[in-house]
């Protein structure tokens, strides 16, 4: 089977690492990765715990298809109670780290307690060491990776680490692996920092086998071919996710200037064309595309900043290539803050990766600060003398770095948008749900997206459901509850396999199931897999309810509920959440106050 059959439990308080068998009952019920991680979290954490305290646990979870030839087999999930939302934190990432954690022999890594002093974890097959991190505490992700590889004389080590943001408790700090892939959301990096854990470095030589190699390889050949032939896949290879920005602009769902608007006049300076055309000095931003582990799509962008650009003209250390703009980063550093400077945006992206921050949360938090600045609530005195109005590329560049390093006004931005807006007396300017900032889609222009945001267990998120089709067919809230619920369960299932959501550009649900069935013992049917997805979703909800969240948290900001969309296809509309939400609860088999009924729980074996 494609499990290693053991997990690694590390107690940082005691300084002890030990293996235990993978709970196969749970693996069979939750598939792996997100689902299995949720179960382990639920069973190991008091949902009421202080997320930044030693009682929280941090889980790195792989899936059954990780490390196999199934396309995109490098996804892993990081789970904990989120300090940003107080809800379940579940964030996943690509790159190579996840596959190598599994190659080292561990299906899941569970970290408890808090180290007295900064440490990092070094995993080389059976050799697991908790080592002092004094030399890299205070360093960015890039230097951390370099240092650990040199220290262990192994350039092949794959490393997941936090930058200064995670050390400094930036509430949207992420865990970055392989230089520029990140478990970006929910502040999982802040939890890692709270445990004094700088990094996890893994290398393994154990390999992964599958239950039925003959069938598996046949299915893999078919699924590879299917992806290869798909037009959606081709678009991702060629443009990454970035082209979505032109679509959202045209639709009128591209959040602009802290969601005051839904179309951005500077679109031509922030879209894919702006990254491929030479600028006035002949510099071209985009260099190439790059894949994560096992991925036959390769949507990742590799870019470089114009060496003459103000952000790096005196900083040659940033003249190298690194991760380039994707849709959410283009949105977060562009329209939502009103900036139209691709090089400044790319610089901000470098800062996110190097210092370890979620670009969505950072961008939306900066957008709120800019609105407060334009309202006069914030002044240059608050913002370290930097002009912080919408459109300020300087503010973007300066604060993307200062937030990571915990300097000046960057410390305030590091609280996230909700706390920042509350601090300055304007909680209504927070654009997000449950404390987590919105991704780059407007809830009024895409009604199902709004319902998905409101009900997402990890706070506002665009990646926990998939209702673009229904949203673009009908701009009203009609009939959105069912596709939102069904796609949430489907995504939960896909997130639990160890594969990437973007394979849906060429695959249907049956393709995931066929690969799982060949890799694992027992019979894996579509019904079983979808039910597992629903089980995971419901268990996440149970965690949140136990943590003290209620139906009142399944809501959207007043700007979405009351301010009509200013332009575009949904002009004049507000979110119809009040209509969609009760319908959604019913579809889910939940009570009117958003609690799963006993019947629902027992149906799912919960």
């Amino acid at each position: 089977m494609s499990w290693q059959g053991q997990i690694l439990r590390v107690n940082l308080t005691q300084g002890v690492a030990k293996t235990e068998p993978l709970n196969m009952e749970w693996a069979n019920a939750y598939i792996g990765e997100r689902g299995l991680g949720t179960k382990y979290l639920y069973e190991n954490v008091d949902p009421k715990c202080d997320p930044m305290g030693p009682d929280n646990v941090l889980i790195f979870a792989t899936g059954p298809l990780n490390g196999t030839m199934a396309s995109t087999s490098g996804r892993y999930a990081v789970l904990c109670k989120s300090p940003l939302t107080g809800a379940i934190g579940d964030s996943n990432s690509g790159g190579k780290f996840g596959a190598y954690l599994k190659y080292a022999g561990y299906d899941l890594l569970l970290i408890e307690g808090r180290a007295e002093k900064p440490v990092y974890l070094h995993i080389d097959d059976d050799n697991v060491e908790i080592l002092p991190a004094d030399d890299i505490w205070g360093a960015g992700v890039w230097r951390t990776e370099e240092w650990i590889k040199a220290r262990h004389q192994n350039p092949q080590l794959k490393i997941a680490s936090i930058g200064e943001a995670g050390e400094n408790g930036v509430l949207f700090a992420c865990v970055v692996n392989d230089l520029h892939r990140a478990a970006g959301r929910c502040g999982v990096g802040a939890v890692m920092g709270s445990k004094n854990l700088k990094a996890v470095a893994a290398y393994g030589t154990r390999g992964v086998t599958v239950d039925d190699p003959g069938t598996f390889m046949r299915v893999v050949r078919e699924t590879h071919a299917k992806l290869a032939e798909s037009g959606g896949r081709r678009e991702l290879t060629e443009g990454g996710t970035h082209p979505m920005i032109d679509m959202m602009q045209e639709w009128g769902g591209l959040p602009t200037r802290n969601f005051r608007e839904v179309q951005f006049e500077g679109i031509d300076k922030v879209n894919p064309a702006a990254t491929t055309a030479p600028n006035e000095r002949g510099h071209v931003n985009l260099i190439t595309n790059k894949a994560c582990f096992g991925c036959t799509i390769a949507c990742g962008r590799i870019a470089h900043i114009d060496p003459e650009h103000f952000t790096i003209v005196n900083r040659p250390e940033y003249r190298h290539a690194s991760g380039g703009l994707e849709y959410e980063t283009a949105y977060g550093f562009g329209p939502v803050v009103g900036v139209d400077d691709v090089d400044a945006m790319t610089f901000a992206n470098y800062m996110m990766n190097e210092h370890g921050m979620d670009p969505i949360s950072f961008g939306v938090t900066l957008a709120a600060a800019m609105e407060l600045y334009e309202m006069g609530v914030l002044t240059k005195e608050d913002t370290d003398g930097v002009d912080c109005g919408f459109g300020s590329a300087e503010a973007l560049a300066v604060f993307s770095e200062k937030t990571g390093k915990g300097e000046g006004f960057g410390k305030v931005l590091g609280l996230g948008s909700r706390r920042l807006c509350e601090k300055y007396g304007h909680p209504e300017l927070f654009m997000g749900v449950k404390g987590q900032e919105f991704a780059g889609y407007d809830s009024r222009a895409l009604q199902g997206m709004g319902l998905g945001y409101a009900t997402s267990n990890r706070g506002a998120c665009h990646l926990k459901h998939d209702v673009f089709g229904p949203d673009m067919e009908d701009v009203s809230g009609n009939g959105k509850a069912v596709p939102v619920k069904e796609s949430q369960d489907m995504v939960s299932m896909i997130d639990s396999t160890g594969l990437c959501l973007f394979t849906t550009s060429g695959w249907g649900p049956e393709d995931f199931v066929a690969q799982l069935d060949a890799a694992l013992p027992g019979e894996w049917t579509l019904e079983r897999c979808i039910e597992s997805g629903e089980r995971t979703w419901t268990l996440e909800r149970m965690f949140n309810l136990a943590a003290g969240l209620t139906a009142a948290d399944d809501t959207l900001p007043d700007r979405m509920l009351k301010e009509p969309t200013p332009s575009g296809n949904a002009e004049g509309k507000v979110s119809e959440l009040d209509r969609m939400l009760p319908e959604y609860y019913t579809v889910r088999g939940w009570t009117g106050d958003g609690r799963p009924t006993n019947e629902t729980l027992s149906r799912l074996g919960l």
Partner: protein
């Protein structure tokens, strides 16, 4: 016409499908650490370079072997390791100036690319045609071979 692996780093996305395919073929599990072909990344992934044995004519590994454990397959042109003969002395690993023969501590034998007997799995698994298996005349391997000759300790014009 004999065939060779033609590698184009410009097309490589570093997905490591080739490493998984290679290890699955040779070791029965997906295990990049045991792959005969390896991807090396430069500058945050700006460039990724697949790298394996070119089955060079000079075959330093073969000549350095004290027990005739390395033999050239006349059909494919590949230099293959005969596991049952290899004693694990590793002399070939230091003799190959390309570093493409590696020692596997688990088995006590050396491993190298054998072109999978003429149907290389890496090329089949590569989604971007960065690795293809084509007639040797088309490979432009001349370039690599030219470089290879600089390493030669044998005939040198004017040496």
């Amino acid at each position: 016409m004999q065939k060779s692996l033609l590698i184009d780093p410009d097309k490589c996305t570093s997905c490591l499908q080739c490493e998984m395919a290679c290890s699955f073929e040779h070791e029965g599990s997906f295990n990049p650490a045991r792959s005969r072909i390896k991807i090396f990344e430069f500058e945050h992934g700006k460039r990724s370079v697949p790298y394996t044995c070119t089955q060079c004519a000079e075959a330093w590994c073969l000549h350095a072997c004290p027990v005739e454990a390395l033999v050239r397959n006349p059909d494919t042109g590949a230099v293959e390791v005969r596991d049952e003969v290899c004693v694990g002395c590793k002399v070939c690993t230091i003799a190959c100036p390309f570093g493409t023969v590696n020692y596997n501590p688990d088995t006590g034998k050396v491993v190298k690319c054998d072109l999978c007997g003429g149907d290389p799995e890496c090329a089949k698994a590569c989604p971007t045609d960065a690795i293809v298996y084509v007639d040797s005349a088309w490979t432009g391997f001349d370039r690599m071979k030219q470089w290879a000759r600089q390493t030669d300790t044998r005939p040198m014009a004017g040496a």
